[in-house]
Amino acid sequence: MMKKSAPALVRRIPWVLVVFVAALTIPWVGSRYDTFLATQIAISALFAMSLNLLLGTTGLVSFGHVAYFGIGSYVCGILMKTYAVPFSIALPAAAIGSALGALVFGFFCVRLTKIYFAMLTLAFSQIIWAICYKWNDVTGGDQGIPDVPYPNLDWMSSIPLLGDLRIAQQFYVLTLIVVMLSLAAIQRIIASPFGLMLTTIRENPERAASIGLNVRRYELSAFVIAGGFAGIAGALFGIFNRGVFSDFVYWPKSAEVMIMTILGGIDHFWGPVVGAATLVLLNQEITSYTQYWPFVLGTILLLLLFVFPGGIVGGLTTGLEWLRRKTGRRASA
């Protein structure tokens, strides 16, 4: 009896809130460097999570997701640096800008399937890259937009404990709030009837169409939502990185976030978060004694594809299942 009620109890815990509270303690319990890493993980996690809305939930292989991350970071960076617009306006503007970009590009992309879909998303992301790289007057060309200012966080100074933190740590708190709200929203979207329709499309697009679903419209909606959240991640990253540069949008970055997502596991909600955390920490660890991080990453990717196609969370779930079956059998015998 206990065994059956345990998963239900586990499911009832608001995990996003638990993770939020745990991550919130980092500036006080960890070093400044830990906060730096945690900020990077939080932003990457949101980016990977937004991609997984396409990859895992809807089954769309986008090889150009970095375009929307890039639009978000450029919109936010330009607004805050050039026009001194406050963060509270620049962030929604970045999300809307990216979602609009995703709407225009996605409109064409969802008409294609499989490899052609992947190629068209790649082409669009390279168009965005070419614009960012060459349109010197607006995007700063290959110089990018250096010194994007931190948002004005004076309101935090009146809050006890928060007020004593440095600006980078306060920005971490802000990032965490934005990311966790976004994750909660994504969780609601996936669990909603709309999200279930997306899963149906992933499992069998022909059947979804034959029961009267407008597959393209659903796919486009998923594309736009994913683009919007990627834009939020991009906006945060531009500020965190203290500058927005055209490499943000270069195509290998799309592969990177895809690896993050797969590494965690695309079949589980927390997969992309686990993948982001693992990859950021691993990168930190490995680059401290070799410059050949891509080599290591490629090897990890090979292992992942051949040995653990379900990613870390997928592997753990299978392992736990196996353990439970093993112990269950022993108990009944």
């Binding site: 990859l55 064409f108 068209l120 070419a130 060459k134 290998p252 080599f295 990717l301 090979l302």
Partner: protein, 294 residues
Amino acid sequence: MFEVSFLFGQFLGGLTTAMFLFLIASGLSLVFGVMRVLNFAHGSFFMIGAYLAWQAVQWLAPALHSFWLAALAAALGVALLGGLIERLLLRHIYGREELYQLLLTYALVLILGDAAKIIWGTQQLSVSRPPMLAGGFQVLGATLPTYNLFIMLTGVAIAVAGWFVLTRSPAGRMVRAAALDREMLGALGANVGALYTGMFVASSFLAGLSGALVTPIQSIVPGMDVEVIVEAFIVVVIGGLGSFWGTFWGSVIYGQVLSFGILILPGFSLFSVFALMAVILIVRPWGLFGRPLR
């Protein structure tokens, strides 16, 4: 507006780019057409070919005609590497979701890119032009380096040879049959596994050869792999993924758009080729010369 000789020069420049890209993209397109695998690592094979050629020239330096021997050795080396990769890795992912295929070949991009850095370092390397092709001559007032002419002729020769092998030889017939229906070909007793390995080796050979041939006019730098693969993608998308002549005309169009795009929209020629790729994918996803996939 512009003088004829200038325009003709642009045209010739575009044609040289085109034939280079054809050499690179033909292998990519063949592998996609038959094996349905979009090989991101094709650009890495190109880069390894360039490095191997440089290495071979260093070793052979005093010998006569060392460049030609080096180019051949580089192409063969890359072909061997391609064969190993197909046998050990790619073989296991045919028929799996395209996500896994894309990521597997991307893993190879990461590994080969760093392997090249570990072996040859990060400084620019270059190979001098073979003496017999050193000069240049005047055509309609534009200067055409002899080496560029050689590249153009090589491109055309490879195109004709490829067409001949594909349509007139037993091996070519098997390749075309495999592209249409792999399982049926296997059921008829053909060794499809060996055919795939052969295809991949041939494709790697072409990539390695083009990498070697590019060394006299372009310096060898890390990052040339990810740059060239995107260009090759554009070319095969324009012509049609898997279509051999499509790849040829796709390269010609790409070369001309790039070299005249600079005149019309300075600074935005990069944009114009990606836009061309997107437009083709939107209007005719199977390319100008391809056929829709089943």
